[in-house]
């Protein structure tokens, strides 16, 4: 079991007063709160910081921890380990997922008091009727799959309460119907597919957060799709009829003469599915140069350069 230096975790001195500890905790809690932080390990960090504060803010627990830190063992010889059996009550930080290290000194499962149904994936172990925990999980969806109703197989982890009262994670697989037209970030609720209810209380729900998987060709803007269309300089100059891929196949697109890089051509109804109708597909033109030019081509470019009175930088000369 890993020793946790709570002073180090909160970046405070061993003799820091309670005010300094509180300030340090608040600062770190804001920094690492999983709802606020973009930090990859935010949740772990936040748990660690909360655990450290849980101990250091309480003079009794702090004294006990200091003793352990100094002598390397919980002070069980004193007063028969009265802290070991104590449950912490009325604390609002609400995490029951404290480390083994914490439990080894203080016993118990950590503080209670967070309203149940919160989503960090921690569970509390009260022995009364309690609605099962709601679970939120990401559901990656390909753009192609949003065009029609589709069924996806989803695997997720679920806290399961064993007969002995312990909770462990189990894997669950489920076939889920994803309705046509789902949008990125949308949440789909599956009733009763979350954590198991305790006693006669119902199961929690499962929430799927839709994540549209980035597509190799198409970008998404609301319900519209964008495709970048490379054009040869002469196609842009003379106009062309080209084939453009869509999510469902290919279509013919007419490129008007004198087209410019960055110009957008709208292809109606070839975007994503909306509640009513379809979004559009936008072809964004991008003029590209050939990689190499042989002598003959160079001569031809030179002829063009000589005959075309074109100054692309005339704006600079005003």
């Amino acid at each position: 079991m890993e020793f946790k230096d709570y002073y180090k975790i909160l970046s405070v001195a061993e003799d820091a007063d309670s005010k300094a500890i509180k300030t340090a905790y608040r600062k770190l809690a804001r920094k690492y709160h999983p709802d606020v932080s973009g930090h990859q390990e935010a949740e772990e960090k936040f748990k660690e910081v909360t655990e450290a504060y849980e101990v250091l803010k309480d003079p009794e627990k702090r004294a006990q921890y200091d003793e352990f830190r100094k002598y390397g063992e919980p002070s069980s010889g004193r007063e028969d380990g009265r802290y070991r059996s104590r449950q912490f009550e009325g604390d609002s930080s609400g995490f029951s997922g404290f480390s083994d290290f914490f439990s080894s000194i203080f016993g118990g499962a950590g503080p209670s008091g967070r309203p149940q149904g919160q989503s960090y994936g921690f569970t509390s172990q009260q022995a009364f009727d309690q609605r099962g925990q709601d679970i939120e999980t990401d559901m990656p969806i390909f753009l192609e799959d949003t065009l029609t109703d589709t069924t996806k197989t989803l695997s997720y982890q679920l806290p399961h309460r064993e007969a002995d009262g312990h909770t462990r994670e189990i894997n669950r697989t489920l076939n889920v119907k994803i309705p046509a037209g789902v949008a990125n970030g949308e949440r789909i609720r599956l009733k009763g597919q979350g954590g198991q209810g305790i006693g006669s209380a119902p199961n929690g729900d499962l929430y799927l957060r839709i994540r549209l998987v980035p597509h190799p060709l198409f970008d998404v803007e609301a319900h519209n799709l964008i495709i970048t269309v490379p054009l040869a300089p002469w196609e842009a100059a003379l106009g062309a009829s080209i084939e453009v891929p869509t999510l469902t196949g290919k279509i013919k697109l007419t490129i008007p003469a004198n087209s410019q890089t960055g110009q957008r051509l709208r292809i109606k109804g070839k975007g994503l599915v909306r509640k009513q109708g379809h979004g559009d597909l936008y072809a964004v033109l991008k003029v590209v140069m050939p990689d190499t030019a042989d002598d003959q081509i160079k001569t031809q470019w030179q002829q063009l350069a000589d005959s075309a009175a074109f100054d692309p930088r005339k704006e600079w000369r005003k």
């Binding site: 709160h33 967070r114 609605r131 599956l190 929690g204 998404v220």
Partner: protein, 98 residues
């Protein structure tokens, strides 16, 4: 598919919050249910997750409701801007690479 909407009582049940807390959250405009009074309120799944986020911020960071309203709207804005930034970067890459 299951109903994606909840009434007031259902929201209290699934979030395990007292009705007064939900009313407070609505009063601060943190979530804006359809319907004009608690009896007719309808909440969608996004509001459920915003409610939970509000409660976590309230409990974990000891933020007052008015501060939470501000924090959540800024967080949403940040998320939108990050998303837009990601989209624009992806589009820009298609333009300047290859």
């Amino acid at each position: 598919m299951e109903s994606q909407y909840f009434n007031f009582q259902e929201l209290c049940t699934i979030t395990a919050l007292p009705s007064q807390t939900i009313i407070e959250i609505v009063d601060h405009g943190i979530i804006e249910p359809e319907g004009s009074d608690p009896e007719s309120w309808l909440f969608n799944t996004r509001m459920v997750s915003v409610t939970r986020k509000a409660i976590r911020l309230h409990n974990d960071l000891e933020i007052e409701w008015s501060g939470i309203a501000l924090a959540i709207s800024l967080l949403e804005e940040l998320e939108e801007i990050r998303h837009e930034n990601q989209q624009l970067k992806a589009q820009l890459n298609r333009f300047i690479v290859g």
